[in-house]
Symmetry: C2
Subunit: 201 residues, 2 copies
Amino acid sequence: MRTVNPEKHAARRAAILGAAAGVFAERGYEGATTAAICKRAGVGSGTLFHYFPDKRTVFLAIVADDLAEATAALERIDRSDPAAALDAVLDLLTADLGDPTAPGLAAAMIQLAQRDPEFAATVTARDESTRTVLTDLVAAGRESGVLTADVEPRRAARWIVALTDAGYLISDDDGFDAERDGAELRRIVASYLGRRGDGAR
Amino acid sequence: MRTVNPEKHAARRAAILGAAAGVFAERGYEGATTAAICKRAGVGSGTLFHYFPDKRTVFLAIVADDLAEATAALERIDRSDPAAALDAVLDLLTADLGDPTAPGLAAAMIQLAQRDPEFAATVTARDESTRTVLTDLVAAGRESGVLTADVEPRRAARWIVALTDAGYLISDDDGFDAERDGAELRRIVASYLGRRGDGAR
DNA sequence: TCATTAATAGAGTAGGCACTACAATAATGA
DNA sequence: TCATTATTGTAGTGCCTACTCTATTAATGA
């Protein structure tokens, strides 16, 4: 007999997904070849297709894993103080601003979401969980008086997410600085929401 | 003898580019097949490659044409009043927010720019002309006192462009409304720049 | 009208792609 | 140790791709 070793399996799987994320980021979904993914992961094509039925599922797994991680991180946030919680969410959203693969990966996701409804749903779900939390926080912040701007919480939440996405899009520009531009992003959000007291943070 | 008819040539060329833009938007750069472009444009593959040497050049032409158009529109703006000029630039930047192909096209551009330096330069040039104008306007606005926020003009210009780009990326979301969300975008920019008087516009 | 040649379509081609078939290896339980 | 089977690599395979070749059409100038 022989049973599966779940740790080894998970490790190999993660290695493949990591390599795949890099290739997808550099070449887009269609441009990424399974051969390139195999090479970077250091496995044969037989191995790749032993772990995943097809290329599409590989990409889906990347997003699904990230969704699970992001959701878990969101749930760990203490929401008793809206202002502090808002900062914490922004920390999460801007955490990977220095990651050079981020813009390419985001572009690849948008691209596939364009014509793959199931994939689109996964991506939407990822944004949705963040938006829901932000919507609540903005509403609570306005009620408690910390946020003074007259905004619709739901719409504001969407734009805050969009704003951080924008950060990833320009993060491969010359002159982009993860720290300084991260601070700028917070300043934009703070002024948008009419945050009282600390202008930037 | 027979000479080229520049009008007919330009018309056919434009028809091909229009069809190509749609296909690139829907399927991404690699996912777009020349066959699909030909079919949508209603021409044979021989015709396509009579007008363009290869697929990459087709995409490059789309961006280059758009760059020329955008630059011309920017130059037409009266820059004597910084506040009004800022509004005019924002009008230009948000003009196509209702275009359903915009997010896909933007994603395809990011994707190809990732690994094609010449293409990346063209895209950068497109953003750069807008950024330069915005940088000047923000600086002028601060000097004249219309803009009260303590921002670096250059960095602010970059973020304003990024913000509008983000608008295009979320413009295929459920609940997105070109007019309302366009207004929201202006509100964000206005508060960010500390625009005096009219909060939204 | 007629020679010239731009414009066009469509069949064809070489190469690259996702994915498979299969043989070989090695980790497990007994 | 040995049987079992999860795991792996390699050598395909058929399909689809960007692009080419060539024959045909039709617009122009003389």
